[in-house]
């Protein structure tokens, strides 16, 4: 988890299926590959989100809340030449905000 002030941002072209769009990625300025800025795939970001979802839903399966709300900040990086997500601090707060709610009826009955 990086603090946002340390970043220099950079715009990169992303290609996903037929769509192309620019994404502002975090670049802390340090080491990186030096291939040319070709259009990147969005796959790495999707994988990051999927992995977070899979891990959290495993937790929910165990504690069985009626409702779960997760907020997390994701900043993108392309330092390895591929676009991936970085879980980040949002304005100095924690990276994850998770709210689990159980109604008074108990977890097993709905």
């Amino acid at each position: 988890v990086l603090s946002e002030e340390a970043w220099v941002s950079e715009d990169v072209l992303v290609r996903s299926g037929e769509a192309e769009f620019w994404v502002r990625v975090a670049d802390a300025g340090g080491p990186g590959t030096i291939g040319l800025g070709k259009a990147l795939s969005f796959e790495g970001v999707r994988k990051t989100v999927e992995e977070i979802g899979v891990q959290l839903s495993a937790a929910w399966d165990r504690v069985k809340p009626h409702e779960a709300v997760v907020e997390f900040g994701l900043t993108l990086t392309a330092k390895s030449g591929m676009l991936t997500g970085l879980v980040v601090d949002g304005e100095g707060e924690t990276s994850f905000k998770i709210t689990l709610t159980w109604s008074g009826a108990g977890p097993e009955r709905r």
């Binding site: 300025g29 340090g30 080491p31 590959t33 030096i34 291939g35 070709k38 030449g81």
Partner: protein
């Protein structure tokens, strides 16, 4: 030791690696007839690319024949060592760089590749120079005091003291600053080692043998990349056109250096000697024997003239 690198001569060995759609990916260079070396992250997952020689000529298709492992997810921007890929092409009429698996000897190293000069403007090719700091724990060569800008990946790193290419540019320490970067050592390609896929190591050691032969066959071409200062003046060239002086000696006409009489009837010997000069042997001896006055000096003069300007014949 050490010295300068002639950018114009070095770039004859360099290519731009493009996608099949013509989008630039990075740099590469010729290491054997029909073979281009670049970084694994330049070709990434592509099977086919387009090779654009720096000296012009039509772009040709290239097939990625072997590559090291892809990037692992995680925080490190480094691709698994050695981050190299071999591309085969149909181009064979090109000079090859001399590869040296040893580390740079220190001092300044030079690269030439398609690094971006300005944001968003297609690179035309640029030189870069770095100071060699040493070898990392994972064997990457660490460089400082030079800018490794995007596009330089896959560029040859020449060590003037070794008079050879010792590495392949892979990483920067900072894209926007002259902090240096990292290069993958040639030893990873030609001697193999842990983490280097078998097909890459096999092709690498095979290519190394071809590399040496290809460079030695055309050694003058590689020597031009690393000119030796004053080399043109080191050897006395005791030949020239005959100029008639006020009181010429008739024997002057016979002096071999003047070459007054056209050189004839020795074509076969001369051709054999030229082939000897151009052979791929690292060290070879040839003896020219004959009685005094048989024409040994004239033969040597004619051979030197031809080797200096083969185009004039």
């Amino acid at each position: 030791m050490g010295g300068q690198v002639d950018s114009r001569e070095l770039r004859r060995h360099v290519v731009r690696v493009d996608t099949n759609d013509g989008e630039p990916l990075g740099t590469g260079f010729f290491i054997a007839p029909g073979w281009v070396l670049t970084c694994a992250h330049v070709v990434a997952g592509a099977e086919g690319v387009r090779i654009v020689p720096a000296e012009g000529g039509c772009p040709v298709p290239g097939a990625v024949a072997a590559r090291s492992a892809p990037h692992l997810s995680g925080r490190s921007a480094f691709w698994p060592f050695p981050d190299l890929a071999l591309i085969s092409t149909t181009l064979t009429d090109h000079p090859c760089v001399l590869l040296d698996p040893r580390s740079p000897l220190g001092g300044e190293c030079h690269a030439w590749g398609y690094s971006e000069r300005e944001d968003g403007v297609a690179p035309t090719g640029s030189p870069a120079s770095f100071l060699f700091e040493g070898v990392e724990g994972d064997d990457y060569l660490k460089l400082k005091a030079g800018q490794a800008a995007p596009g330089l990946s896959g560029a040859p790193l020449v060590c003037p003291s070794r008079r050879a290419v010792v590495g392949v540019m892979t990483m920067t320490r900072d894209k926007r600053d002259a902090r240096g970067g990292w290069a993958s050592p040639i030893s990873a390609l030609v001697t193999g080692g842990p983490g280097i896929p078998d097909d890459l190591a096999e092709l690498g050691s095979e290519i190394r043998r071809t590399n040496r032969a290809a460079v030695l066959r055309d050694r003058a071409s590689w020597h031009r990349v690393l000119p030796v200062q004053g080399s043109d003046d080191v050897l006395r060239k005791p030949w020239g056109d005959f100029h008639k002086t006020r009181r010429p000696d008739p024997a002057d006409l016979l002096l071999p250096g003047f070459g007054v009489v056209p050189y004839l009837l020795r074509d076969a010997d001369l051709t054999a000697a030229i082939a000897w000069c151009e052979s791929a042997e690292t060290l070879a001896l040839s003896v020219v024997s004959g009685r005094g006055g048989a024409g040994k000096t004239r033969f040597a003069v004619e051979l030197c003239r031809w080797m200096e300007h083969p185009d004039r014949g």
